[in-house]
């Protein structure tokens, strides 16, 4: 069977998928228990886990290009944010005339800016299917154009990392501007409902959690499918000896372009699922620091395993929630320290402790 073929050599992935399936069943049940029950899972926690899963999805996207293909992307937050904005635009249009200004057509911030009509690039976002396409298309097109320029010019290594940082930084500055038409530094917020379901209701939040878990599982299988194929082995070949792969007849730039674009689209989906769960998207999501943080998650979890990226994202974000609540001052130091420790002591990440030593 197809699924068995792609998953049979991936213990970590099997466990991950099993846990995701289990959570999809258990979370709604635990949430429906009476609040005084010991096992009761508050909706707040459900949404928190749902949010972590979308970040894990972003980490999987980064592992695909960094772990397997060796492209140290420090700009994947941009694709995540674009997906988030596409979803945010749909959610804004869903508000309709329930905004503060009660304008049926224009979102509040446009009324505030005295705009008379909806800009052309907001057209269509009242339709969910259109927004859903844009969630993948916008990051995909950006990644494709960026990749076509960078990979064909054979920009690689540190230089590529720097221009990915520049990309997300430039987008952040652009999205801060009110004239861009994306709500400036306030971003998009005050969402009311999604596909007609109120975002405040427990069932919608459970639904978003399940959607996040499914998206992670589906993306995991997709990445696994890509990476266990011959294409995946070519990726590893490119990562370890790029010019050798070229002399063998492989068009390295095309391999990179495909994988990079797919990865950006996955990141876009992650952003789109993240936004309704946190209730806001603003230009800070483009912050270069965010993209760097994702790379740290992947490094801590273990590169080139996919499930390591998930583990890293979950562990660090859980730690982040804890630290920023209890000891907000030392979070960044803890993160930096963890990164240094893992790089020095556990080059294969924390999941590397559980894997048998590979002879390399």
């Amino acid at each position: 069977m197809f699924l068995w073929r792609i998953m049979k050599d991936d213990r970590g992935g099997q466990i991950l998928l099993a846990l995701l399936a289990l959570s999809i069943v258990l979370v709604p049940i635990l949430n429906s228990l009476p609040p005084d029950s010991a096992l009761y899972l508050p909706t707040y926690t459900v949404t928190l886990i749902g949010k972590y899963l979308t970040l894990a999805l972003l980490a999987v996207a980064v592992d695909l290009v960094w772990g397997y293909l060796g492209i140290l992307t420090l700009g994947h937050g941009a694709f995540f944010a674009l997906g988030g904005y596409a979803m945010g635009m749909y959610l804004m249009r869903q508000i309709g005339d329930r905004g503060v200004y009660g304008n049926p057509e224009l979102p509040d911030f446009m009324v505030f800016l005295n705009w008379q009509e909806l800009p052309w690039f907001w057209q269509g976002f009242d339709q969910f299917w259109f927004a859903a396409i844009m969630v993948m298309l916008a990051p995909g097109v950006l990644a494709f154009v960026f990749g076509a320029l960078a990979f064909r010019s054979r920009v690689s290594g540190v230089y590529l990392s720097i221009i990915t940082q520049a990309l997300t930084f430039a987008l952040m500055l652009a999205f801060y501007r009110n004239e861009m038409g994306f709500g400036g530094n306030n971003g998009l917020t005050d969402f009311k409902d999604l596909l007609g379901f109120s975002l405040q209701s427990d069932s919608t939040r459970i639904g978003l959690f399940i959607a996040s878990a499914l998206a992670l599982a589906f993306a995991y299988l997709l990445c696994r499918y890509l990476m266990q194929s011959r294409l995946g082995r070519v990726c590893v070949a490119v990562r370890d000896a790029e010019s050798r792969a070229r002399f063998m007849g492989y068009r390295v730039e095309n391999v990179k372009l495909w994988i990079f674009t797919i990865s950006a689209m996955i990141a876009g989906v992650a952003g789109a699922l993240y936004v309704p769960q946190v209730g806001i998207i603003n230009p800070n999501e483009f912050s270069p620091l965010n993209s760097i943080e994702v790379v740290v998650w992947v490094a801590v979890g273990g590169r080139a395993t996919l499930y390591g990226a998930v583990v890293g994202a979950l562990v660090i974000n859980y730690a982040k929630s804890y630290f920023t609540a209890e000891l907000p001052d030392i979070w960044l130091f803890a993160l930096g320290g963890l990164f240094v420790l893992v790089t020095l002591l556990l080059p294969r990440g924390i999941t590397g402790l559980l894997r048998p030593k590979e002879a390399v």
């Binding site: 076509a148 054979r154 070949a237 492989y250």
Partner: protein, 279 residues
């Protein structure tokens, strides 16, 4: 390719991207029985002429040994043939019809020129089997390699080559864990899988024992005929055993051909003795 020209291409409406265009180069034509032409090739690095008006012709099916002291430009010559380095002037043709100077590395490789590097380069993280699998001749388009499966015929060929390069016991071993000599052999095996018309082999016996050297010589000679083979080597004993009595040997010195002929003639050439053999 500069960022600027790429930008111009992306912005050009009618531009057909190379990854969309069919990638069939002109067909190889060896009517004149010559497989490789290098004519008047020169290249300099920061003013230093690494290759200086080099002329070299390789016949179809020939096994050619190229010797020359360190820094003579042997590796640079291979870099030019395989598209890694652009010469400042000159012409390089593969058969009558294929202009190598118009092509990049993957196109040249797909046209049928394979290369073994001086320092063995295998994909260390992949297994012996996977290294050979990737080298195997076939369509290299992204979607094709995504769906690629090994056919029965291909598996036989893979097993045959693994046997030939003496790694029968180790197909699942990571290439990174092989010894230096085994990596050399694996890389030769990868060339065999690629089935190029022209094999460029840069110092294949470095780090090999005498016994391994003999086997390598045997293998390379057996390839001649069906493929053309160009071997660059330092080790004179090895070249002697490869060239035998009647193969051509070319001596390279300071980026151009110093002498060419049978091993015997070359060895007795005064100029050659001066710069190389008499060292």
């Amino acid at each position: 390719m500069s960022l600027q020209s790429t930008m111009a291409e992306v912005l050009d409406r009618d531009h057909v991207f190379s990854f969309m265009a069919p990638q069939s180069a002109a067909n190889l034509n060896v009517e004149k029985n010559v497989l490789l032409y290098l004519e008047g090739i020169s290249v300099s690095f920061d003013g230093f002429k690494a290759i200086n008006d080099l002329n070299l012709y390789i016949n179809d099916g020939e096994l050619r040994c190229i010797i020359g002291p360190n820094g003579a430009g042997k590796t640079t010559m291979m870099d030019i043939i395989t598209g890694k380095t652009r010469p400042d002037s000159g012409a390089a043709w593969f058969g009558q019809t294929i202009n190598l100077l118009d092509m990049d590395e993957p196109a040249i490789a797909q046209a049928g020129i394979g290369r073994k590097f001086q320092k063995p380069t295998v994909f260390e993280y992949l297994t012996v089997f996977e290294n050979l699998e990737l080298a195997m001749a076939g369509d290299r388009a992204v979607l094709r390699i995504l769906g690629a499966r090994i056919s029965g015929e291909q598996r036989d060929r893979l097993d045959e080559v693994i046997d030939l390069i003496g790694l029968k016991e180790l197909p699942q071993m990571r290439a990174g864990s092989l010894s230096h000599g085994q990596k050399q052999w694996l890389e030769i095996g990868m060339l065999l899988m690629q089935q190029p018309r022209l094999l460029l082999v840069d110092e294949p016996v470095a780090g090999m024992t005498h016994q391994e050297m003999d086997r390598t010589a045997e293998l390379l000679t057996s390839l001649a005929g069906k493929h053309s083979v160009v071997v660059v080597e330092h080790d004179m004993d090895f070249v002697r055993s490869l060239a035998g009595k009647d193969r051509t040997v070319t001596v390279l010195h300071q980026g151009s051909v110093l002498a060419e002929g049978r091993m015997e003639q070359v060895q007795n050439n005064r100029k050659v003795v001066e710069v190389y053999l008499g060292e």
